[in-house]
């Protein structure tokens, strides 16, 4: 029996079904990559650069080789000839983009603390670790480039062969004359300069892998803690020159990714190469501090935004200019991440004139790449801070400035000035619901009272309205962005002879609850119990086609593919039932898993019975193929556009700078919801992660390029004790771009919450003349802001 939290209705979708994944996860039974038993396995460990930028003078591996149990030690030079190509970057954003060749092991130079320089194979993981400690590398240190603005000057060029630290300049300038006109006619112009600090994604499970050469056939099975088994398979084949059909990639239980496992990593390519070389299974598990150094970071931008508005506060034009930190090299999607936000610097406001420019710059730090929201949190932060700056300058309430600028409901589908078509939206009721829920006018009164009493406790209320483009993505749109893959998703739905249903999906869940949600979609469509639906995923042998899980795409793209494949199965089943009941297909009704002849209660056939008939094939319509199975590959016609309003309330202690998040309301519109409990979980986790960026988290490097926040004692991920209970609400504006009217919810919370919290902090400090405070808004920063002149 599937447990249902609330009383059931006829529809399966929309119910708060408990996640079928959770009993295993909560009791420790789920198998993560490090739990997979394997005999005769070699343990891999990596020697990493302790410096930010240096020439490698020499590597002495003799002591390591002498350790009993060490099987092999390899340097970049040893393996250089085995790479068919450098590590892949799949997003060449401009034709002249500069991309330094980057191999799994550094050959002559290192360019960030954590860059891999040598690899050890040993019979035991502790021996491997000891061997790593015994390897002596002589470095000739070079001055590192750590600051983005300094990088742009090219005074020191990190990769001499490129001649510059600028990887690319990407501009979206639809109509400069119009933009100039908007600014020159504006009654108000406000400008903001905001820093998006570097973040360490910090998935609960670090990365890890196990690669097993198969006993026959020349195949390799790679188990990896990855979000992208399908893409990884293709990229390994291309990079190592191995036939794709010899590679099977499996993602077992994966403990979170947040974009950091949407990549092709040096360790995956190294392990593959060494398994090929030694013929042995190889295991590697990343350590926590290693994760902070060697797994991609997120964000890392300096943003400048200018808003031009008329005397009513109506925004006429927006100019956004970014410097984006690529880190030392380009990983899989590094250059494209800031551009995913490039279409959204006007937020959900009707703005006629627009320009966006992004300069991608190298620094001697860990490469950046996708991190929950990828470009859209940055865009939302800039516009929502900008709207507050405008409201403040004009003396208008932040809620009112937003009301005056929303894209009105009647303008949808809305063609935005940067060139997107927002398929749907209804922003005003969503804002009003959030204001009502938080008790906005009462809070403003309370704030006024405290201020008039000269209280040392300062209340701040911060709004953030957001829209995102997600459901990545229409393949043709990706082509126009020079992304080198499509954005479709594949699904197969299969009725087994016993009447059970098997769903094969190309999505790769790593905490999202796809098994539960996908079963609900199929059960809902077929009128059967979700327990009768099994969902298979994350194994390229089982699901040969797939584009995996990221960008809040799995439901609106992968879920839609399942919905449509289920429809095809149902159509075929109807023909079989009609044939056997000797009526026309259109004379059949289908309800609760049974076909029945309209107007007759006796002539009926259960779906399971049809499935068995399809299997035996004894009595099928002429020309019909046996078995009941259908595949759909769905390429969405457009992105989806979830939106919402988040309101944060903070209390600041003037004496210490201490900031407490005391209340948080979120009203999100993610379209139709398959499982509202899973939706809430995604929103809550996302809010927490965004609060982390706003108040706590930052990857901090010292002036030599050492990462100072490489453990969870220094890198402050918030826990439940730092967060209030989130009060959630929903509005429902179904997306017209897919048949279920769904949009996706994976990133929304994380997109909306940083500006809500910072707007609240700045609101609290406005009586001290504070106009902005960079993230994370630590107590010391706040205290300094209060006491600045």
């Amino acid at each position: 029996m599937t447990a249902v939290e609330t009383s059931s209705s006829e529809r399966v979708t929309g119910q708060r079904l408990l996640r079928r994944e959770d009993p295993e996860l909560l009791t420790g039974e789920a198998k993560f990559v490090d739990d997979l038993a394997q005999q005769d396995v070699l343990h891999m460990a990596i020697v990493r650069s302790p410096v930010a930028r240096a020439k490698i003078i020499s590597i002495d591996t003799s002591a390591a080789r002498a350790i009993d149990g060490v099987v092999g030690v390899y340097t970049g030079r040893d393996l250089k000839d085995l790479w068919q190509q450098p590590m892949p970057c799949a997003w060449v954003v401009t034709p002249d983009m500069k991309n330094p060749a980057h191999f799994p092991l550094a050959v002559d130079s290192v360019n960030y603390m954590g860059d891999a320089v040598a690899v050890v194979l040993a019979n035991d993981k502790v021996i491997a670790s000891d061997a790593v400690a015994s390897i002596e590398v002589e470095y000739e240190e070079l001055p590192p480039v750590l600051d983005l603005e300094e990088s742009a000057t090219d005074k020191v060029v990190i990769h001499p062969e490129l001649g510059t630290n600028t990887s690319y300049v990407w501009a979206l300038e639809p109509d400069n004359a119009k933009l100039e006109a908007a600014f020159s006619s504006a009654a108000h112009v406000v400008k903001g300069r905001f820093v998006q600090q570097r973040l360490i994604p910090s998935a609960m499970e670090p990365r890890g892998l196990l690669i097993v050469p198969q006993p026959y056939g020349g195949e390799y099975t790679l188990y990896s803690s990855t979000q992208i088994p399908h893409i990884l398979k293709i990229m390994i084949a291309v990079t190592l020159g191995i036939s794709e059909s010899k590679i099977r990639v499996v993602a077992p239980s994966v403990g979170g990714g947040f974009g950091s496992k949407l990549n092709v990593y040096a360790e995956e390519l190294l392990a593959f190469t060494l398994a090929k070389k030694t013929g042995k299974p190889i295991r590697w598990m990343e350590e926590r501090s290693e994760n902070a150094l060697a797994t991609v970071h997120g964000r890392g931008q300096i943003q400048e935004i200018e808003l031009a508005a008329d005397s009513d506060g109506k925004v006429l034009g927006i100019r956004a200019n970014l410097l984006a930190d690529m880190g030392a090299y380009l990983q899989l999607l590094t250059p494209g991440v800031p551009l995913l936000g490039g279409f959204l610097y006007h937020g959900l406001y009707d703005v006629a004139a627009y320009s966006f420019k992004c300069t991608g710059l190298f620094t001697n730090k860990t490469p950046t790449d996708a991190y929950r929201g990828a470009g859209r949190p940055e865009a939302t932060f800039a516009i929502e801070r900008g709207m507050d700056l405008l409201a403040h300058e004009m003396g208008i309430d932040p809620a009112e400035i937003r009301r005056r600028n929303f894209i009105p409901k009647e303008k949808f589908p809305y063609s935005s000035s940067p060139g997107l078509v927002f398929d749907s939206g209804n922003y005003l009721p969503n804002l009003e619901m959030a204001l009502e829920k938080v008790g906005y006018s009462k809070l403003r009164e309370e704030q006024f009272q405290l201020r008039s009493q000269n209280s040392k406790k300062h209340l701040g209320i911060g709004l953030s309205c957001y829209v995102e483009m997600c459901g990545l993505a229409p393949s043709k749109v990706l082509a126009s962005l020079n992304y080198s893959a499509g954005g479709w998703e594949a699904a197969t739905v299969r009725l087994l002879p016993t009447g059970k249903v098997q769903v094969v999906t190309g999505t790769a869940p790593h905490g999202q609850g796809h098994e539960t949600s996908w079963a609900m979609i199929v059960a809902d469509r077929l009128g059967i119990n979700p327990d009768d639906v099994e969902v298979l995923h994350s194994d390229t042998s089982i699901s040969p086609h797939g584009l995996d899980t990221y960008g809040s795409r799995s439901l609106s793209v992968g879920g839609t593919a399942i919905f449509m494949a289920t429809g095809k199965v149902l159509d075929k089943a109807r023909q079989i039932a009609a044939h056997q009941l000797e009526v026309a297909p259109e004379d059949l009704e289908y309800q609760d898993g049974n076909f029945s002849v309209k107007g007759s209660s006796e002539k009926k056939m259960a779906l399971g019975q049809v499935a068995f008939e399809a299997f035996t094939a004894h009595n099928l319509p002429d020309g019909m193929e046996p078995t009941l199975e259908a595949t759909t590959t769905w390429d969405p016609p457009n992105f989806t556009f979830p939106f919402g309003t988040h309101i944060a309330v903070v209390e600041i202690d003037e004496d210490t700078g201490d900031v407490k998040l005391v209340k948080y309301v979120a009203v999100d519109d993610v379209g139709n919801q398959i499982n509202p409990m899973i939706v809430e979980g995604q929103i809550e986790g996302g809010i927490a992660q965004g609060v982390g960026q706003a108040l706590f988290e930052e990857a901090i490097y010292d002036e030599s390029g050492n990462l100072l926040t490489s453990t969870l004692a220094e890198y402050l991920v918030p826990s439940a004790t730092e967060l209030p209970n989130f009060e959630l609400g929903s509005t429902f504006t179904p997306s017209p771009s897919n048949p279920m009217g769904v949009k996706g919810v994976g990133e929304a919370g994380c997109i909306a919450s940083p500006p809500a919290v910072i707007n609240a902090v700045v609101d609290a400090l406005s009586t001290f003349g504070v106009k902005h405070i960079d993230m994370p808004a630590s107590p010391e920063k706040i205290w300094n802001a209060i006491h600045q002149d």
Binding site: A133, S289, T656, L695, L716, E722, P779
Partner: protein
């Protein structure tokens, strides 16, 4: 990382542990492991031998000794937090223990381990300082008592001699007010600055994370004793101190926090 390799010995009695420790100057005592093991995993500590005293049950107790409470060194933070006796007689200590780390740390970490580690950023060493407690240690040449105020010598350095183990912590029953002000960004973290104030006859004040060792705020205490106001006493909070600068706070900010928190601690203590 994995710790460097080490020998592991399980001590069955305190005498047993002392004899191993006296013979091996590369040996370290393992109690709850919550301070030592993280250092070993980062390879910042690499003792040759770990002497595990965690199984010595007779070192875990909280007893009423009339004029004071005696606490066995292996008593876990969780037990101090929830002890009825302490809640009655030294509620200050129960409260401080409730703020150490998170629940899993409090279930493993021990008061003796925390004090012997002598970290200037830890809560319990400063709490015992403010209580002006006595520390009973046993070594190869027998038992001795060290005043808490003389126990913390330098960065992670205490008055414990070779082969000596902290056995018991003795704290007075609190007759007056008390306060513990812990300022941090996340509940699970060490204090950025902490201030403990306890009135047993006179008011004693100690500071967390304001130097390399847990510190008594003597200048503050002196000002109070001489009839100074809370404001005047708080102004002296960081007199002569050189607090650390780190990712959470500069030295200057710490000095400011110390003043604010001493003020709050004294206000709360003297109001009771």
């Amino acid at each position: 990382m994995f710790p460097a390799s080490f020998e592991y010995v399980k001590a069955n009695s305190i005498r047993d542990a002392i004899s191993i420790l006296s013979d091996d100057d590369d040996a370290k005592v393992l109690a709850g492991g919550h301070s030592l093991l993280p250092l070993m995993k980062l390879r910042l500590a690499a003792p040759g031998t770990l002497v595990d005293i965690g199984g010595i049950r007779e070192l875990s107790y909280i007893e009423d000794k009339g004029d004071h409470i005696a606490i066995g060194a292996l008593t876990r933070h969780h037990d101090i937090e929830h002890s009825g006796l302490l809640k009655e007689s030294v509620p200050f200590l129960s409260y401080v223990a409730s703020l150490v780390g998170d629940p899993s740390v409090r279930h493993r970490g021990t008061i003796g381990g925390s004090i012997s580690h002598g970290d200037g950023a830890s809560d319990l060493p400063a709490a015992v300082l403010a209580l002006d407690g006595d520390l009973v240690v046993e070594g190869p040449s027998g038992e001795r008592i060290i005043k808490a105020s003389e126990f913390f010598i330098g960065f992670l350095e205490t008055a414990l001699g070779q082969g000596e183990i902290l056995k018991e912590i003795r704290v007075p029953k609190i007759t007056g007010g008390w306060s513990y002000q812990k300022f941090n960004r996340r509940a699970q973290d060490w204090a950025i600055v902490g201030v403990a104030a306890v009135s047993v006859g006179e008011t004693k004040v100690s500071l967390v994370n304001m130097g390399s060792v847990p510190l008594r705020a003597y200048a503050t205490e002196e000002t109070l004793k001489n009839g100074g106001s809370i404001e005047e006493a708080s102004e002296k909070a960081s007199e002569g101190l050189q607090p650390p600068s780190d990712l959470n706070a500069s030295a200057e900010y710490r000095k400011h926090l110390a003043k604010v928190l001493v003020n709050r601690a004294l206000t709360e203590t003297l109001a009771q």
